[in-house]
């Protein structure tokens, strides 16, 4: 069966510090991968998506970046965090044997920038 992991689960970082969130998927190959951010009480904002290694599409201009160094690994980074980067970050995958439409989400990372 397929599983998706995210870490860390929670993170408190000062303004101006770097960020690295990691997401890995098991049990499928060549998945589409997604990073979302969810502000408190709000819906999901798509930040980045990737259809293959090294292929990253950005949805919203901001100080975040994403990379996909391996087929089932997706990393969200920032060189200098802003207060507005606080939120709940969710990684998701779709495709592979499950088909291309439904998305399957990780447990999320709660980021607080102080």
């Amino acid at each position: 069966s397929q599983t998706i992991h995210q870490w860390p689960a929670t993170l408190v970082q000062p303004v101006g510090s770097p960020l690295s969130l990691e997401c890995t998927v098991e049990g499928t190959s060549n998945p589409n991968l997604y990073w979302y951010r969810q502000a408190a009480g709000r819906g999901l904002q798509l930040l980045f998506y990737s259809v293959g290694i090294g292929q990253i599409s950005s949805e919203v201009p901001q100080n975040l970046s994403a990379s996909r160094p391996q087929d089932r690994q997706f990393i969200l980074s920032s060189k200098k965090l802003l207060l507005s980067d606080s939120g709940f970050y969710l990684c998701a995958w779709s495709g592979g044997k499950k088909g291309s439409y439904e998305q399957y989400f990780g447990p999320g990372t709660r980021l607080t920038v102080t």
Binding site: N32, R42, L46, A92, S94, S100, Q103
Partner: protein
């Protein structure tokens, strides 16, 4: 602007009652999906309905789609306290590998 918008924003019902949540969208879609999110957790896919389908069932869930009105509804029958969560509709406009566009969600509280 949001492609999918749910209403009501919040719903509180008694255990055993039915819960109906609605979603409206703006442009033609390939399919519409409903997801559930328990507090502080990731989203869980509930059901997908394609643009050529009008109704779909999964256990206690019933989803309808009216493409002429660009709206969908999610009905949870015989609700349980464990159904307490946020529910999101999400639309897909294009073909395979297309992105999902999520609404802001509905907070459902089921009182024991």
């Amino acid at each position: 602007s949001q492609q999918g918008e749910e209403d009501p924003q919040a719903l509180s019902i008694q255990e055993g009652e039915n819960a109906t949540m609605n979603c409206s969208y703006k442009t033609s879609i390939n399919n519409l999906q409903w997801y559930r999110q328990n507090s502080g957790r990731g989203l869980v896919h509930l059901i997908l309905i394609r643009s050529n389908e009008r109704e779909k069932h999964s256990g206690r869930l019933r989803v309808t789609l009216d493409t002429s009105k660009k709206s969908s509804s999610l009905l949870i029958t015989a609700s349980r306290a464990a159904d307490t969560a946020s529910y999101f509709c999400a639309t897909v406009i294009g073909g395979a590998n297309s992105k999902l566009t999520f609404g802001k969600g509905i907070t459902l509280s089921v009182r024991p």
